[in-house]
Amino acid sequence: MARFIAKRVLLGLITLWLLSVLIFLLAQVLPGDVGRRILGPFADQKAVDALNHELGTDRSLLAQYGDWIGGFVTGDMGESLAFRRPVDDVIGPALVNSAKLALLAFVIVVPLAIVGGVYAALKEGRPADRVISVGGISATAIPEFVWAVVLILVFALTLDLLPVTAQAPPESGFFTQLKYLLLPALCLVFVLFGYISRMARAGTIESLDSDYTRTAIIKGLPRRTVIRRHVLRNSLLPTIAVVATQIGYLIGGLVVIEVIFNYNGIGQALFDGLQQKDFPLLQSTVLIVGIVYLVATLLADILYSLLNPRLRLGAAE
């Protein structure tokens, strides 16, 4: 197992390094330089040149990349060119915000979708199954910004129950933050419910059809025990993989939701980095989102192998 993890981590590090080189090169293709992006098109060229010199963005690309990667591996992400603050200061709060939103969405959607999927499987072909399956797919098919607009119109503007934006006032308590995050989290719940419940449903149907389930039933075990011990344990394996792949999306892929709900998350930081051609910010944000993806998939693999004795034994051999 340790060897398996070490191999995955090593591959992950190589992927991240390649990602950093790729982003750096792509960022150079973007038109305009950093000084021009910060001061705008109408600024005097002399001022732009002076700012580029002050920021060090008039140095060679290799020197800039070398400085940045050298710092990054020692935990120093450098200074944001546009915000003139350490990148940690820009990304830190954004990452915390994104994690809060992702966690809330996860806490709601994972149990809900698994229970929904399993229930649909147990009631396969009946009205309850149809409602859950068709409803889930329909909800997923509607883009998140449409859900956002609908939910804001209903719950914030018409019923006046929840705030229109997601950013709670500074130093808000747990329940106030929860209130602010509920609408964006619900958008994500709608988007993810269909994926997860469908996987849970398919896995459960497959397990219910399997020989070991039939044997357990014939053995005379109570139905509840059969489902808990034999069906769920096997049926949830593909679901875990789906859930894990959504973690990266939930942390780094929510620019649209963050914009609509005016939420200062990591997607927004990524967008700012790109807009301003702020290379240290852009690069660090991309790598952090990359790390989240890698860690999530690694955890999913580990969990998968722990739940699946065949994989575990295979790794041991």
Binding site: G35, I38, F42, K46, R84, P163, T165, N262
Partner: protein, 562 residues
Amino acid sequence: MDPIRQRVDAIRARSTGLENHLIDEYRAGSISRREFVARATVVGMSIPLAGFLASACGVDREDISKVDPKQTEPPQPGGTIRTGIGAPAGALDPVTANNEGALAVLGQSGEYLTWSDSQLKLRPRLAESWKPNSDGSVWTFKIRQGVKFHDGQSMSAEDVVATIDRLADPDGSSNALSVFAGVLSKGKSKAVDPSTVEFTLDAPNGNFPYLLSSDNYNAIILPKTYEGDWEKTFIGTGPWKLDDYEPEVSANYVKNPDYWDKTRQPVPDRHEVKFYEQEPALVLAMLGNEVDIVSHYSVSGGKALLTSEDVRTTEYSSSVHRQLHMRTDQEPFKDKRVRQAVALLVNRENLVNGLLDTKSDFGNDSPFAPAYRSTDKSVKQRRRDVEQARQLLADAGKDDGFQVQIDGWNGFEMPDYAQLVQDDVRPAGITIKLNITDAASYYGDATFGNSRWLDSNMGITEYGHRGVPNVLLGAPLKSDGTWNSAHFKNKRYDQLVAEYTAALDLGVQRRTARQIQELLLDETPIIFSYFYFWLAGARPEVSGYETTAMGHIDASQAGRVA
């Protein structure tokens, strides 16, 4: 069915094709109510019938085009006022700031020598008075005494000199360098005594005080010891002192107990300024009662605010506009008759009444917006005239039309503007291809040879508000102008602009303005179709706030009425 709708349908069923077309145009916002009634009577409708149709078919438009009554009740002291603004992009630094969000924040704790109000009048702030020498080449400002920075230091003439020198420094990263170019050089500001500063200009300039006003948003007066760490302190002399700041989220202020102006002590106890990355979120925040004031919104993005009963909109003429340039040194626009023809084909009525929902003034192909006091409004307004345009094209040997490309970027209403122009010129056989990109691709390096903005044959560029037209007359149109995307070179024009710039007297400015307006109408290097109305909104119970078309918001005198 609604009885009014039934009656409209019955009238339309028996109307001629021409009458129905007119009704459709009115419903689409292409013509105003007054024009509809006038033209309806020409095509044979009775005045009562036209009046009924105008009311029945134009309800929404009338709602939008009406002006909300201003809340005039005095505000109650105390409480918190919450203002929503566009999020500042990047670090907050008075020297480099270049966006509306940043300048709105600068103006909370910072102050200028003079304040350029929504009517473009200058009011004294940190300068008590100012006067020029006989030819406007030296300006002397009397600096207010007894003013303290938020850290307790007294503000003096030396601080003013250091601030302006910093902005005029060609070796620094000042965003205001383009404003001072050719006007004021570094080292030409002098503290004559602790309360007097003398500015010796590069050339006479009658509007110089505007360049030191809130119009030049970088020019908040900072201590001479300032080292570029403004975001840590928000230092200034203004009525608000920073309480807490969360980057990308909000800046909250409390009263400055040492504020010098006893007549303008803050009315509310606290001012919360919230940042919104995009306009839709700002509009929703206003509708959802998350803010009391929204410092600015656009017609295209803020229709919900214009029609909401919970929002009172203030609107005033500004000089915000779009420039549609034509390269005067390239075919097919080398011949001015071709440029004139394109300008005559643009349907400004459609743009103002439809695209901008009546919330703009007509442009007359020069930077002289109706909002400017020096603009000569008696110069004949250019209107759509397809026949004259065709004749001009024929005279120029282009009666078969031609094909061109409009470059632009995907912001504000500009892509729609480009499409409307594309439709407008079609009757004369002109085919326009649109090349709409993102802002960065359009502006590129913003230097000649490296920018679609400055190199394209035809392009649309957005320009913000200026309290006086000096900058707009210079950089985009003068022969050596750094923003001269039309590549317009005209010695007579350069001479007239120099005369206008130097003129101290409004009468002289207006006479010169007329000559410039007429010259530009004749040459037409750039089409100026409209000048935006500046729109700001507040909850009906809020009074006393002031916004300017520059993007400033002064909430120090704001509050809720009893």
